[in-house]
């Protein structure tokens, strides 16, 4: 068995598990006891695969970035999750979870969102299935990701602001969990990343694993072998990274590079670089790495990117980094924005600011001219245009 799969209690090594109040126990237990058999069911797989193909637009291309490769003097392939319906990898997971929710007879869907991509992806699948949808979103994120708020509303979802804490993803997640506690019977909570109590990290990683499943055969088509030298992905909760790493976790010759948001700098106090300044603890029902005080209070994170502005990482990534399997790279706001502009002008692809963090890693890591590097292009930057423009005009305001 893989070293990087959950054990029978839902742990990756020492990380993971389900640290939840009894009030959530029935909901989580119902899901835990059924998700594997649901996901393995043939009818489920058929519907899931057909929606991924005909609705989401999979397989997404693996694109050889010629000009970027030339500039960096290596071989860079981009996994084009930005071409997924709704504009990011998030929908791979929401398609899967809405099918699970239907099989659990749930009539109401809740979700948290940071960048709004998961919220849009959830609102989308709820519209597709005709199911009620409520999305919790930090007040600050509602502001900085306005286009996605409009999209969710057009799709028929209700967007509820989370006003506590830093008013970002962490707080939206708290609110969603509270909603679930209050509505355990009819509601399924579609978590948007590989975070939360077991079985979420495993379930979400499996839904996202289609990313590396495709990279394998696509790379074989391109260069005759399945394995690149490195896979780079940004990590908020870590779902796109989990998907891009998944089928390479046991292939020791493939470097796994996880890019965290350093915000204003790892040491600045305004950061979301969890693996550097975080420590083991519990957040949102999972034992993992998180940013906290000596007293165990969760520290409010900061990143220019709403999707990475989270004080924890998924337990799988905590394990991959803790065990040395994955390398963590910290990328500041400024580095990410520079990379976002650069990639736009070099390849005609405007990346999400989250994704721009992954591109910025090229300035940090060592590689050879003969290397093959896959960057997971987790999402498109349409939602971030206002931030990009403000940054370009030196008008960007960080008011934490």
């Amino acid at each position: 068995m893989s070293n990087y799969e959950i054990d029978n209690r839902g742990f990756y090594g020492k990380f993971g598990g389900a640290y939840i109040p009894e009030l959530l126990y029935p909901c989580v237990e119902e899901l835990r006891s059924q998700y594997e058999s649901i996901m393995q069911d043939e009818g489920f797989q058929e519907e899931f695969q057909s929606l991924l193909k005909d609705y989401v637009g999979r397989p997404t291309p693996l694109y050889f970035a010629k000009r970027l490769s030339k500039y960096y003097n290596t071989n860079i392939y981009l996994k084009r999750e930005d071409l997924c319906h709704t504009g990011a990898h998030k929908v791979n997971n929401t398609i899967g979870q809405i099918l699970v929710a239907q099989r659990l007879n749930k009539k109401r869907i809740i979700a948290e969102t940071g960048a709004g991509q998961h919220g849009v992806a959830t609102a989308t699948v709820c519209a597709l299935m005709g199911i009620e949808c409520i999305v919790y979103m930090g007040e600050k994120d509602i502001e900085r990701q306005a286009p996605n708020v409009k999209r969710m509303k057009m799709l028929g979802a209700e967007v509820r602001p989370a006003m506590s804490g830093s008013k970002t993803l962490k707080d939206a997640t708290n609110e969603a969990i509270r909603d679930w506690i209050n509505n355990p019977h009819d509601t399924h909570y579609i978590i948007g990343s590989v975070v939360g109590p077991h079985p979420y990290p495993d379930m979400v990683a499996k839904f996202q694993s289609v990313i590396s499943e495709e990279i394998k055969w696509q790379l074989k088509e391109h260069i005759g072998k399945e394995n690149p030298d490195a896979v780079i992905a940004c990590v908020g909760g870590g779902s796109n990274a989990a998907g891009a790493f998944y089928h390479y976790m046991d292939e020791a010759d493939v470097r796994l590079i996880a890019c965290e948001a350093a915000g204003l700098g790892v040491e600045s106090g305004e950061t979301a670089a969890t693996s550097v300044i975080g420590s083991e603890g519990i957040i949102h029902g999972s034992r993992t790495l998180l940013m906290q005080t000596d007293d165990g209070q969760i520290v409010e994170p900061y990143s220019i990117s709403a999707g990475l502005d989270y004080p924890g990482i998924g337990p799988l990534h905590a394990h991959l980094i803790d065990s040395g399997r994955a390398e963590a790279v910290s990328i500041t706001d400024a580095e990410a924005m520079k990379a976002g502009f650069f990639v736009s002008k070099m390849e005609g692809i405007i990346p999400a600011i989250e994704t721009a963090h992954a591109f910025a890693a090229l300035e940090h890591i060592k590689y050879k001219a003969s290397d093959v590097i896959v960057i997971n292009l987790s999402g498109r930057g349409d939602k971030d245009l206002a931030t990009y423009v403000a940054w370009d005009n030196n008008e960007y305001q960080h008011n934490h």
Partner: protein, 258 residues
């Protein structure tokens, strides 16, 4: 036998357990609140350790927690405050908080400080049963510290029995599957649940909490269990009251006598 066990040996019904968030409304109100609750005739005090992300709690407790943290509450201070209160009262005290607080403080150190301060038990709603059994049960017992797990209307019987087996002190019966803060008026489903709990003849006494805010709710809870836990309603009273002592006496009086 610690103070909680002694309490339930002496008093089988009408137990009144009041929760408050340490550090709220003022950083140094902890000792006064404990003493006044004791004086007002409360049976058991639950001291909330304020937490940044209290996801099992409702809005009232969440807000009181963030005020307490802003006031500067932290665990070392809290232990001192409790220890100081313990010099002046013998009322059973439990601490309630989140597992991460214990983890970061260091579980051993945390338990030692509890013993030292005169804390009688703990409630950590997100601590899994199995993890308690494997890692902490023995240390708790050695320290004479109780532990209360929660049950809800949705908790299955075999799990209730397991919880009863592991708990030491009392079982926290959540009256409804909803976060704290709303007003209780028991439904048939809840009444069934209370009946079912009674019928299981558990080793631990049962206290009903969540959403109780009046004599009516208290009486109803008492008629189905050994007593009631009140939290949010008390915190709101503290927020609205002027004088700590009179607010507390008035509140407890209103619960017990209407």
């Amino acid at each position: 036998m610690n103070r909680i066990q002694r309490l339930f040996q002496e008093k089988k019904e009408g137990i009144l357990n009041i929760y408050f968030t340490a550090g709220h409304p003022g950083l140094n109100d902890t000792e006064d609140i404990i003493i006044e609750l004791d004086k007002a005739g409360v049976d058991l005090v639950e001291v909330g350790m304020p937490y940044s992300d209290p996801l099992a709690d409702g809005e009232t407790i969440q807000k009181s927690s963030s005020i307490a943290l802003k006031n500067g509450m932290h665990l070392d201070l809290l232990f001192e405050q409790i220890k100081s209160a313990r010099q002046k009262t013998d009322i059973p005290m439990v601490m309630m908080g989140y597992y991460n607080q214990v983890l970061q403080y260091g579980p051993k150190k945390f338990i030692n400080r509890c013993s030292d301060a005169g804390v009688d038990g703990l409630i950590l709603p997100d601590l899994p049963l199995f993890e308690f059994e494997e890692k902490y049960k023995d240390i708790f017992e050695a320290a004479g510290l109780g532990i209360s797990f929660l049950v809800t209307p949705k908790t299955e019987t075999h799990r209730i029995q397991k919880i009863d087996e592991v708990s030491k002190g009392f079982i926290y019966m959540v009256s409804t599957n909803a976060t704290t803060g709303g007003e209780a008026s028991f439904s048939n489903e809840q009444l069934d649940y209370f009946q079912r709990m009674k019928g299981l003849e558990l080793q631990n006494p049962r206290l009903i909490g969540f959403g109780i805010s009046s004599k009516k709710g208290y009486d109803a809870a008492c008629s189905h269990s050994n007593g009631a836990i009140i939290g949010s309603a008390f915190i709101r009273a503290l927020e609205n009251g002027q004088n700590l002592s009179s607010t507390i006496h008035q509140f407890v009086n209103s619960i017990k006598n209407g």
